[in-house]
């Protein structure tokens, strides 16, 4: 994505505490862009779900928090990247209630509902990248 002003923070996700750090870094970023409390809460909740997935199912990885100014809008693009087993059946994974672990199966679908944009790239054995973004119009 080409923007006039790009600023990326990379946060490794290797332990539970890293997910907390990521949420806090994201909060700072969202506040600086001027998102409302509700927008912040939705985005950080989505990020918490995806960060957990990276840790639990992806074998650990990293989060990229990218502040973007793109023409007439300003926003944040979050990427959750792992080199784990990948997702075999994406449609199934996106279904509410489906979980391969002990979760509630709401993480992927929930993140998609809570963010403005959602993009999932994965293949068995090739890892997974989930990208979500939220925009503020000037």
């Amino acid at each position: 994505m080409i923007g006039n002003d790009i600023d990326v923070k990379v946060i490794p996700l290797r332990a539970d505490e890293d997910v907390v750090r990521m949420r806090q870094a994201l909060r700072e970023c969202l506040v600086s862009i001027g998102f409302s409390l509700i927008e912040q809460t939705k985005m950080i909740t989505a990020a918490s779900e995806l960060g957990r997935n990276t840790l639990r199912y992806g074998g650990g990885g990293e989060a990229h928090i990218e502040k973007v100014t793109d023409g007439g809008r300003r926003g944040v693009v979050l990427s959750f990247i792992d080199q784990g087993p990948g997702i075999e059946d994406v449609d199934l994974a996106l279904k509410d209630g489906y979980t391969t672990g002990n979760g509630m199966g709401l993480g992927l679908g929930g993140a998609r509902r809570l963010a403005d944009d959602f993009e999932l790239t994965t293949a068995p054995g090739k890892g997974t990248t989930v990208r979500i973004s939220k925009w503020k119009l000037f």
Partner: protein, 119 residues
């Protein structure tokens, strides 16, 4: 090991979550609360989340689990002080809290649990 403190007030257990909880801490709280319900023969559990600006599916599941375990042990659970932004997000996330009553504040929560006296 860090733990979230649990207060006993008569037959009531009160937990106030004021930290940004990571998953392990949430699991520890779940186990601690269940143990305390039995040990203290509690009839009610009050979980104060008025300081929480985030409830995701893991925390939601923790709350549901606590309520379910409390019920099995013959105790009620009330969730107190949910922030509006959290409530809106939970609905959109698709998370339903099961077996948990909600109240605006600790006072109302205690009334709901019908515990007026502390022994």
């Amino acid at each position: 090991m860090e733990r979230i403190p649990i207060l006993k007030m008569g037959q009531l257990l009160l937990v106030t979550i004021q930290v940004d909880m990571h998953d392990r801490l949430a699991m520890t709280l779940q186990d601690d609360l269940t143990t305390r319900i039995v040990k203290d023969r509690a009839k009610g559990v009050l979980i104060d989340i008025s300081a929480l600006d985030l409830v995701d599916s893991f925390i939601g599941r923790m709350i549901n689990n606590i309520a379910a375990m409390a019920k099995i042990l013959d105790a009620d659970t009330v969730l107190v002080g949910m922030q509006p932004a959290v409530a809106i997000t939970l609905v959109e996330l698709g998370l339903t809290l099961e077996g948990v009553k909600t109240a605006l504040n600790v006072e109302r929560g205690m009334t709901m649990l019908n515990l007026g006296k502390f022994s």
